[in-house]
Amino acid sequence: MTERAKKSLEASKEVFKLASEHYLGAHEAKKQDKPVTWMTGYDPVELLYAMDVAVVYPENYSALCAVTQLAPKFIEKCERLGYSSNLCSYARNTIGTTFEEGAPLGGLAPPDFLVVARKFCKTHIKWWQVLSRRFNCPLFVIDSPYVTGGVEDYHIDHYVSQLEDLIDFLEEQTGRKLDYDKLAEVVKLSDRASELWDEVMAMRRNVPCPVGASDILSCMFAIVTLPGTKTAVEFYERLRDEVKERVKNKIGVVPEEKHRLLWDNIVLWYNVGLSNYFQKFGAVFVLEPYTMVWSGRLDPSNPLESLARKYLFAFIGLKNRGDAMVELCKLYKVDGAVMHSNRSCKFLSLLEYELKDLLMEKLGIPSLIIEGDHCDGRAYSDAQIKMRIQAFMEMLG
C-alpha cells in the first residue's frame, strides 16, 4: 500500500531527468576513460568535481531504487550473500545491485577508486571496504572528527590536512594535478547552489507554506549530488523563482493549511506518498532537518578551509540537535513533529524520544514517533502507521 507523492512544483518534474543524466553520465564517462568514484552524502565532492572525476552516490541511488519499488530484489540478494538483515538497507541495496541483474539506469558505473569520510555513520567505512574488495580498487578514508560541541580550529586544521592527503591521492589516481583556479570556480558554484537552497528553505516559513516535503525531497537531489556544478545552480534558480512566485500569490500545498509539521529523520523512500495522507488532514511538512543540512556556504578564496567547515557535521548530540530543532520549530511556526524511527539509521533515530520530550517541554509541541526504514519496505505496515497518524491528527485537533 505505497503510493506516489503528490507534488506541487514544475521544478520537481525535472528531477528524474537530472538523476538519469547523472547516473547514465557516469557510464558515459567510464567509456571515455574518465575516472569514476563512489562517495557518500556529506563528503567533499567539490574536490572531485574540480579534478573532473565522475561521482555517484550509493545512498542517493538506493533511495532511487526504493522510490521505483526495485530495492527489495537487491536487498534480498544481499541477504542471500550472507549479509545481516540488520545492516543499513542502503548498504544492502547497493551491494545487492552489484551482484544482481536489472539495477535501474544500468546500475552504478563501476568505480576506479573510492572515497569515504569516517564521520557519524558507522556503516560507511565497512560498506566502502566491501565495495573496495568487490571492485578491487583503492579506497581513501577521510578522517572527519566527531564534533559534538562547537567546531574548533583544531577540527578545521585536521580536516584540511585530510583534504590535502585526499588531493595527493586524487592526483596519483588520475595522473593529473589539481587546478586551484578550477577548484575556486567549483567552490563558487557550490556556494551559489547552497545560497539558493537556503533561500528556498527560508521561504517555507511563510503561511501558507509554498512547498511541502514531497517536492523538497525530490529537489534535494542536486544539493546532495551536484554541488559545484552549473546544473545545480541553474536548477535551483528555477526552483527558487517558482517558489517565490507561489509565496507572492500565497499558494499553499493544501487548500486550507491546518497544521504545520516537522519531519525528522530520512523518509520512507518506498512510500514517499505518505505525506499525501497527512495532507488529507490539512497538514503540511514545512521543515525537515534532514533536507536542510546539505547546504554549506563556501569561500572561493579559501576553498579547503571552507570545505572543512561545510563538511564538519555539527548536527550531533542532544544539545546541538535539540537546540537547532527548537529554534527551527519557532522560525517555521511548527505545531507538531513526526519522527521516523528508522531501523537502518540508529544514529539519527537514537535521540528521538529525547527530542520529543524537549519539543513538548520547551514549546508544547507534540510529536509522533513512527517505526519504519528508509529503503526496506518489507517491514512497513501501512494500516498500523496510518492509524497512528490519524490518532495524532485527532490529537492535534
Binding site: 507534540p366 498500523q384 492509524m387 490518532a391 490529537m395
Partner: protein
C-alpha cells in the same frame, strides 16, 4: 437520541448503542475474516437487543482496525481517541489509559479535560498483545478465559525472558518439558506481558488514575502483574472490552450535538 459506536478489532468486533448518555445495549463477537459482514452482524445484534432499527440511530462512529470497512458508519475515529473518551466517561479522574487489544497495545496520556495529550503504541511486534496470550494458551492447552484465575494460584512464577512471541512460545514449551506447573508458566507469561506493556506505557509517563481497557483487562493475572510494576491499583470497568465502542458512541453523540 440514539447513537452507535462500532469497534472492529483484530480479534473481536464490538458495538454499542447509547440512548442519550446511557448505554442501552452492546454485543461482542469474533472479528472473522470479512470485516463488512462482521460489522453488519455485530450492529444488527445490538439493534435487536435494543429493539431498534438502523434508521433510529442518528450517528455511527466506527473505530478499530476494521473502521474503514463499516459501510454504514458516518465517521471513522481511531481507537486512541475512542478509548480515551470511553475511559474518561467511566472514570473522570483518569490520567492514563492502557489498552491491550488483539494485535496492539497502547498507552494514552489524558489531560484534566479528557483530551488526549500523548500516546505510545507497541512497535511492529505482537509481544505484549492479546495475540501473545492466545498463542500461549494454545501452547499450554488451557482456555484463555481461565488464564487469569489459574495464574493467581501461582507461588513461584516461571521466567519467560523472550519478548518475541515466536521465541517465547518455544520457551514456554521448554518450561513444560522441564516439568514446571502450568499455573507458574501462566504467571510467568503475565509477568512478561506486564513488563513489555509497562516499558511502552512509561514513555507517556504513567500517572494515577490508571484505567485498563480492552479484552486483556478481563484477565486478573495481567492486572495483578501490571499493578506490581506501577505500584498502585489499576481501575477496570465491568466490561473493559467495549470501552472503545462506548467512546465511539459518545463521539457520535458529540458530532450530532455539534451540528445544532
Amino acid at each position: 437520541m440514539y447513537t452507535a459506536g462500532i469497534d472492529i478489532g483484530a480479534l473481536t468486533a464490538k458495538s454499542l448503542i447509547l440512548e442519550d448518555e446511557r448505554p442501552l445495549a452492546f454485543t461482542i463477537i469474533p472479528s472473522g475474516s470479512n470485516s463488512k459482514e462482521t460489522a453488519e452482524k455485530v450492529m444488527e445484534a445490538t439493534l435487536s437487543k435494543a429493539g431498534l432499527s438502523q434508521g433510529d440511530v442518528a450517528f455511527t462512529v466506527a473505530t478499530g482496525y476494521g473502521r474503514v470497512n463499516v459501510p454504514f458508519a458516518d465517521k471513522q475515529v481511531t481507537e486512541i481517541s475512542c478509548h480515551a473518551k470511553g475511559a474518561y466517561s467511566l472514570f473522570p479522574m483518569v490520567r492514563t489509559v492502557i489498552d491491550i487489544g488483539g494485535q496492539d497495545s497502547k498507552a494514552i496520556k489524558i489531560g484534566k479535560d479528557g483530551r488526549v495529550m500523548d500516546f505510545a503504541m507497541n512497535d511492529r511486534c505482537a509481544a505484549g498483545t492479546g495475540r501473545f496470550l492466545e498463542v500461549m494458551a494454545k501452547a499450554l492447552e488451557v482456555r484463555l478465559e481461565d488464564f487469569g484465575e489459574l495464574s493467581l494460584q501461582s507461588k513461584n512464577k516461571a521466567k519467560i525472558s523472550n519478548i518475541c512471541t515466536v521465541f517465547a512460545e518455544s520457551e514456554v514449551i521448554s518450561r513444560i518439558s522441564e516439568g514446571a506447573p502450568k499455573i507458574d508458566i501462566i504467571a510467568g507469561i503475565h509477568d512478561a506481558i506486564a513488563n513489555r506493556v509497562f516499558g511502552m506505557a512509561s514513555r507517556v509517563k504513567i500517572e494515577k488514575d490508571l484505567v485498563m481497557t480492552g479484552g486483556v483487562a478481563k484477565n486478573r493475572g495481567v492486572i495483578k502483574a501490571l499493578e506490581e510494576k506501577v505500584g498502585f491499583k489499576i481501575l477496570v470497568s465491568e466490561e473493559p472490552q467495549i470501552v472503545g465502542a462506548l467512546g465511539a458512541a459518545i463521539i457520535a453523540r458529540e458530532m450530532v450535538l455539534k451540528q445544532f
